[in-house]
Structures are given as structure tokens and as C-alpha cells.
């Protein structure tokens, strides 16, 4: 079904979406979206697909639990905030704070992502979130990472560095993949173990790369034409030695 979002306030738009899902609609196409926030917020339904035409507002797919969302343009800040399950595809760039505290599911962004992406993602047993970004990222990429996988491809760099300052600061779980050359200045080796990805590690993200290639018109060969570096925490307790018991 289609919903025309032109001139509709986010509250009413999201009500319409929830209502449609409640009725059993599984494919919802939004037209003329123009900055409405929280699209897909807390939405449930593994078989639900939402296609967003136009530019959605902040906190797209926040707390989302199952559906697949395609944004055909750019997305703004806070995509997949604390998302639990489902898939988000952004066929353009995404703003700051993508996947903050994300707990599961995947986010694929064709282009660049902003600052503070993938902060404090976490994983447990079978639930492990993934973010794949095709372009570059800003500062604090994967800060406080506690679990899950971040993949930064840098297919198009537009003259920007692959990743910004403080990449992986405070990382204590999960892994960050960087494709191609990056400036070592951006990755502190104090708490991060840096190594070229081995065959097993590449195998682990193969499906996510395939999904990226398929969604955005790349070939796997193009993506794999450059070597990948994997960043992992040196310790699960990066601040374990910081404190002493007060006498």
C-alpha cells in the first residue's frame, strides 16, 4: 500500500504506518517524505517492508524490531537508534549517530556516514548487529563498541579520510573492518589490536558485503579489490586498571 506523507506530521504518519502493519499490510511505500521523524520507530513485524521516498527525519527505525526499511534518498541523524532486529538500507548518505546502542539486525548505507556511528553496539549469542557503510565516516566511529561488526568500505571517498579521529576509542567487544588505506593516526593502538583480515574474518562478513553489493549495484569483486584491516579490542576490560579501591 502507499501512504502520501506530504504535509503529514510525524505523529500521524507513524500512526498510519502502525495501523497499516496492524491490518496485516506487509509492504508499505511512503511517498513525499520530508523530514518526518521516527519512521519505523518501535515497529514490529519480520515480514514488513517499508520503502521511504523522500528524506526521512531523525531517529529513523529507532527501537525497530524486525521490519526492513529502504530509504531511497539520504537519511538524517540517529538512524537505527537502539534497533533490536530488522534491516535498514539507505540508498544515499546517512547522518550522525547511526546505530547507537544497536542490539541486532543490519544497517547498510551506500554512501558516507557522519560522526559517532556505531557507538556502543552490543551483541549476545546469536544476536549481533552489523553496520556496513560504503563511503567514509566521521569521528568516534565505533566508540565504546561492545559487540557486533562495523564495516567501512570507502568505495567513494570524495577526498575525505576513510575514518575520523578517535576510531574505536573505548572498544571492548566486537570488531571494526576498514577497507583499503586509512591514516594510522586515526586509530589508537593503545587499546586496539590492528591486523589484516584473514580468510575466516572475511568469510564472517561475506553475507553482509553481498547484501551491500546487491542493494546498491556493486560487485563483490569491486569490494574485495582492496585489503581489509580488522580492529579488535586488546581487552574486554579497557579501564580495569584505571581504578583503585578507596582505603
Amino acid at each position: 500500500m502507499e501512504i502520501d506523507a506530504r504535509g503529514v506530521y510525524y505523529k500521524q504518519l507513524n500512526e498510519q504506518i502502525r495501523e497499516a502493519v496492524g491490518r496485516g499490510e506487509t509492504r508499505i511505500v511512503l511517498r513525499n517524505v520530508n523530514g518526518q521523524r521516527y519512521i519505523g520507530g518501535g515497529l514490529r513485524g519480520d515480514d514488513v517492508t517499508v520503502e521511504v521516498n523522500g528524506v526521512p527525519g531523525n531517529d529513523l527505525a529507532a527501537f525497530m524490531d524486525g521490519p526492513t526499511v529502504h530509504v531511497m534518498n539520504n537519511a538524517q541523524d540517529g538512524c537505527a537508534n537502539t534497533m533490536n532486529a530488522g534491516r535498514l538500507f539507505v540508498h544515499g548518505d546517512a547522518g550522525d549517530v547511526v546505530g547507537y546502542g544497536m542490539r541486532g539486525g543490519s544497517v547498510h548505507v551506500k554512501g558516507h556516514v557522519g560522526y559517532r556511528v556505531g557507538i556502543h553496539m552490543k551483541a549476545y549469542k546469536t544476536q549481533s548487529p552489523v553496520i556496513v557503510a560504503g563511503g567514509t565516516a566521521g569521528d568516534f566511529f565505533g566508540e565504546y563498541l561492545a559487540g557486533g561488526t562495523l564495516v567501512l568500505l570507502g568505495m567513494e571517498r570524495d577526498g575525505k579520510p576513510l575514518v575520523g579521529d578517535y576510531c574505536g576509542t573505548g572498544i571492548h567487544g566486537g570488531q571494526i573492518y576498514l577497507r583499503g588505506a586509512y591514516d594510522p593516526y586515526h586509530v589508537s593502538t593503545e587499546h586496539i589490536a590492528v591486523a589484516e583480515a584473514d580468510a575466516g574474518e572475511m568469510k564472517a562478513i561475506e553475507k553482509d558485503l553481498e547484501a551491500f553489493a546487491e542493494a546498491f549495484g556493486f560487485t563483490l569483486g569491486e569490494i574485495l579489490s582492496e585489503p581489509f584491516t580488522v580492529l579488535r579490542p586488546k581487552s574486554h576490560r579497557p579501564f580495569g586498571d584505571l581504578y583503585v579501591n578507596r582505603p
Binding site: Y38, G42, N81, T82, H120, G170, V244, N245, R246, P247
Partner: protein
């Protein structure tokens, strides 16, 4: 560089055993979570220093063990006290940040103790709560500016105004947020059971809701904090209310580091992190750098819960708390939770715990006043916390403008806590702040829930007595009634901020 040798700083306490009465049952040795006692041919102080948690003394069948301050006479010096010296040595040995638990233990003035309540004499009658009903039921949440009524299809009047979701509590006292991780599952369950029994609320803290406590979700405030531990759509939807935790009175501006040694399998599963890994809550929410961003998260949570749950915001009491609270209310919060600088914690850098923030009495008065001046006091409830120790503190807080209070440390004391301030070590002998199964299984939720509920019942009865003496029959009538308070031994500035007259005025 950290010195590898064991600290030379002597312990503060020592156990004295009266061996002539001791029956060598070893209950004290086995009971001590800190390995501070050992048995050779008799009970002796052990490898580690005693922290005065009193598990041994309270469980000795012969009452033959006592805890004393360890004598350590030094040349008297008020500035370079033994405590100050010990801290410096500890840091010289380690280069680390000193860590403490519980609330600020410095002898700051407790303003509650300088405020006195009014009572009726001659000119207006007091009320006997044993004869007449007293209304303590409280509703927390956004209240409408005015009520509109229309005629319904059946010809009867019907409320036209849509009322925002409200939290109904039977007494204006709720439990403060204490996460699974900072406290044990048995401790959390005790509070959850007590809250359900009394008809009030408990608070998950920021560690998520354990599956064993799902039955208590409907009386739980669930927190969404910077680490986003355990936050998912079902957690939000099954709660009584959602609370965005910005700050905590014991550690304003500081994140939380639950040490990996306290991350057991229960906690790992609830928080979604590996067993033994540190659970790090960043200092700020990385999606909140402004009041506008806060509004964005408040409404993200309201959207995710389809506007059925109140969304509150917890902050630490800091210097410009009035303006901050005003922004929080304008951002759409249904309640503001103020945590004063004496509030408790499972772990905080000592320097922060003891020196950052302001007293909650001052903050509460400033916030209530500011919201009134801005004409938005009705838009949010105020919850006051941070060392509420008695029903007198509750009554005074309500008179200063609180809708309800939250209790953390007082609640833990009902579970057996002796305020030894070692929560962060994970060794709590009482099984309250430990995650070691051999310690936590000794805390029986069915017994401790009764004790926690008893405290709330006792305080509730006392509140009724206070209201009766004041000549009012509802807690609503005391709320924000600062004229029923008088100050003693306070400066003019304090009285001005509190909005309270001096005794005799």
C-alpha cells in the same frame, strides 16, 4: 607505574573474637564475602581487611564477635587526617582513580535536619488519622492546564480533555533506580515484590529487565541510559514508565563502569555483553547534546510506546538545575527526577562522589520555583531523591515541592545493607551488591520483600500522622506548601533559595 606489592595502607577495622564464648561453628568465616576472617585452630582476622559490613556479627549465634576501629594513633592534625594520608599513599602505590560506593560520606550539612514542620494548635484543628481517612495516593505525570467536559451520548458529562498517561502510586515513595549488576537479582526481586505489594514502583536502573522479573514489569520504571543496556521495544512497552537517565547524584557528569568481575551470566544476558566484560555506560548519551536532542529521544520513546507510557528524565542536582529542569519539561518529559549530591551509587570516583553536585533540598526548591515561574509546573511531576532517610524527609521534600520521593540506600538497608560502601568490589556479604552465587543466594527475596514493604508501610503511617498534625487530609494539600516549613540554623541565602522562613517568623 603500579607497584606490584600489596598495599601498605592498613585496614580501618579489625574483628575481635571472644574465644571463650566461640563454639567454632565457622559461620562468620564462611559468611564473610571479603575473606577477612580465617580459621586456623580458632577464628582469626584473615588475609583481607575487615570492611565492617557486620555480616559476621549479625549471624554469630554466640554474639562473640565484634568489629572495632583499628587503633592507629597518629600525631593529631586536622588537615592531614589519617584518612587523607591513606588516600594519598593508595594513589602513590597505584596511580589510579580512587573508587567508592554508596553516597557522599563527607559531613556536609543535611538541610532536612534544619527544616521543621508546622502543626495545628488552637486556631485550626488537627486531624486524627486513626479516625479519618488520609489520602496519600499520588499520580505522577503531565497534568492538563485545564479540564474540559462535554456531554456524552448517554447525556452524562464526559471528560473531553485527553489526559496524558499517569503513574498511580499508593504512597508518594518509590524505589530508586538500581541496576541488575550494581545489585543482585535477589535484591532487585525483593524491591520489585515490595513495590507490587504496596502499589508503588521499583526502577530497573540501566541494566535491563531480567526475564525472572517480567511479572514485575508493570510496576517498573525502566531506564534508558547512555549504555542502552537491555533497552528494546518489549522492555519499553511492558513497563509502567520509561526513564531517560542523564545523571546520577553520586556522580554527575560521569558514566558508569560496571567492573567485569560483576558481569555474571545473568548480567551478560540482560545487558547483551560477554561474561566478564566491563559494562561501560558513556558519560553522555551520544544522541543527546542539547535540550532539542533530549526532546528527540523523549519523543522517540513515546513513539515506540505509542504514547501510552510516561517518559521521565533523571538528572543529578547541579548548579543551574532550575534552568535545566525547565528545559527538560519543555522537551516533553512527564516527570523530572532530581538526584541530590548525597545520592548513592554502585561505584563512583571518590573525588566526584564527594565534591560534585548540590544538595537536593536546594535543587528541589529551585526547580519547583522555576517551573512555577515559567508556568509549567503542572506539565511534569517532580521526584526527589538522594539520601531520603525517613518519613520526615519525605514530608519536608513534599512541602518543598516534590510530588514523590525515591529511596535507594534506605531500601538497601531493609535488605541487610550496613553501608560499608564496598558495592563496587562485588564482595557484599549480604548478597545485595554481589553477583557471586554463594553470596546472593543467602538473600531471600520473600523475607526481604516483606521488610522493604514494612518500611514503606511504616513511613506511610508516619506521613499520615504528619498530615494529621498539619490539619490536612491529603498529601496534595502539603505539596509545595513551604509555609508549613521553618528553617533553623540556616543562612539567609539558604532560606531564600528554599523559600522558607526562619523559625519564629
Amino acid at each position: 607505574m603500579r607497584l606490584a606489592t600489596k598495599s601498605t595502607v592498613p585496614g580501618e577495622f579489625v574483628q575481635v573474637v571472644h574465644h571463650d564464648r566461640c563454639i567454632k561453628c565457622k559461620r562468620c568465616v564462611m559468611g564473610c564475602g571479603f575473606n577477612a576472617l580465617e580459621f586456623t585452630d580458632r577464628v582469626m582476622p584473615g588475609e583481607n581487611p575487615c570492611v565492617a559490613c557486620h555480616f559476621c556479627t549479625d549471624h554469630c549465634p554466640q554474639q562473640c564477635i565484634q568489629i572495632h576501629e583499628r587503633p592507629y594513633a597518629q600525631a593529631g592534625h586536622d588537615v592531614w587526617s589519617p584518612a587523607m594520608q591513606k588516600r594519598i599513599v593508595r594513589q602513590a602505590e597505584s596511580g589510579g582513580v580512587l573508587l567508592s560506593a554508596m553516597g557522599n560520606d563527607r559531613p556536609w550539612t543535611v538541610l532536612w535536619d534544619n527544616l521543621l514542620l508546622d502543626a495545628c494548635q488552637v486556631t485550626n484543628p488537627s486531624i486524627d488519622p486513626l479516625r479519618e481517612p488520609m489520602e496519600l495516593r499520588t499520580y505522577l505525570g503531565r497534568k492538563p492546564e485545564r479540564i474540559e467536559v462535554e456531554t456524552g451520548p448517554d447525556g452524562k458529562p464526559k471528560l473531553k480533555t485527553k489526559i496524558a498517561p499517569q503513574l498511580r502510586i499508593s504512597t508518594p515513595i518509590i524505589f530508586a533506580g538500581m541496576s541488575l549488576g550494581s545489585i543482585s537479582l535477589s535484591a532487585q526481586k525483593s524491591l520489585a515484590m515490595a513495590a507490587k505489594k504496596i502499589g508503588t514502583l521499583w526502577n530497573t536502573g540501566e541494566g535491563g529487565l531480567h526475564e525472572d522479573l517480567q511479572d514485575y514489569a508493570d510496576c517498573a520504571i525502566v531506564q534508558c541510559a547512555s549504555g542502552r543496556f537491555g533497552v528494546h521495544e518489549g522492555y519499553l512497552r511492558n513497563s509502567a514508565a520509561v526513564e531517560i537517565k542523564i545523571g546520577q547524584g553520586a556522580k554527575p557528569g560521569i558514566g558508569g563502569h560496571l567492573p567485569g568481575r560483576k558481569v555474571s551470566s545473568d548480567i551478560a544476558g540482560t545487558r547483551m555483553i560477554p561474561i566478564g566484560s566491563d559494562a561501560l555506560s558513556p558519560a553522555p548519551h551520544h544522541d543527546i547534546y542539547s535540550i532539542e536532542d533530549l526532546r528527540q529521544l523523549i519523543y522517540a520513546l513515546k513513539e515506540a510506546t505509542e504514547y501510552e507510557k510516561p517518559v521521565g528524565v533523571k538528572i543529578a542536582a547541579v548548579h543551574n538545575v532550575g534552568a535545566i529542569a525547565s528545559g527538560i519539561v519543555r522537551a516533553g518529559a512527564d516527570y523530572v527526577y532530581l538526584d541530590g549530591f548525597r545520592g548513592g551509587t554502585g561505584a563512583a570516583p571518590t573525588v566526584i562522589r564527594d565534591n560534585v553536585g548540590i544538595p537536593v533540598e536546594i535543587a528541589l526548591a529551585a526547580v519547583d520555583e522555576r517551573l512555577r515561574k515559567d508556568g509549567i509546573r503542572h506539565e511534569a511531576s517532580i521526584i526527589c531523591a538522594g539520601s531520603i532517610r525517613s518519613s520526615a524527609d519525605v514530608a519536608k521534600a513534599i512541602a518543598l515541592g516534590a510530588d514523590a520521593v525515591a529511596i535507594g540506600t534506605a531500601a538497601l538497608i531493609t535488605l541487610g545493607c550496613h553501608v560499608c560502601q564496598q558495592c563496587h568490589t562485588g564482595n557484599c556479604s549480604w548478597g545485595i551488591t554481589s553477583q557471586r552465587p554463594e553470596l546472593t543466594r543467602r538473600l531471600d527475596p520473600s523475607v526481604r520483600a516483606e521488610m522493604a514493604a514494612n518500611l514503606l508501610e511504616g513511613w506511610t503511617e508516619e506521613l499520615k500522622e504528619i498530615l494529621g498534625a498539619l490539619g490536612v487530609n491529603a498529601v496534595e494539600s502539603l505539596r509545595g506548601s513551604r509555609d508549613r516549613l521553618r528553617g533553623v540554623n540556616l543562612t539567609k541565602e539558604s532560606l531564600d533559595v528554599l523559600g522558607v522562613k526562619h523559625a519564629g517568623e
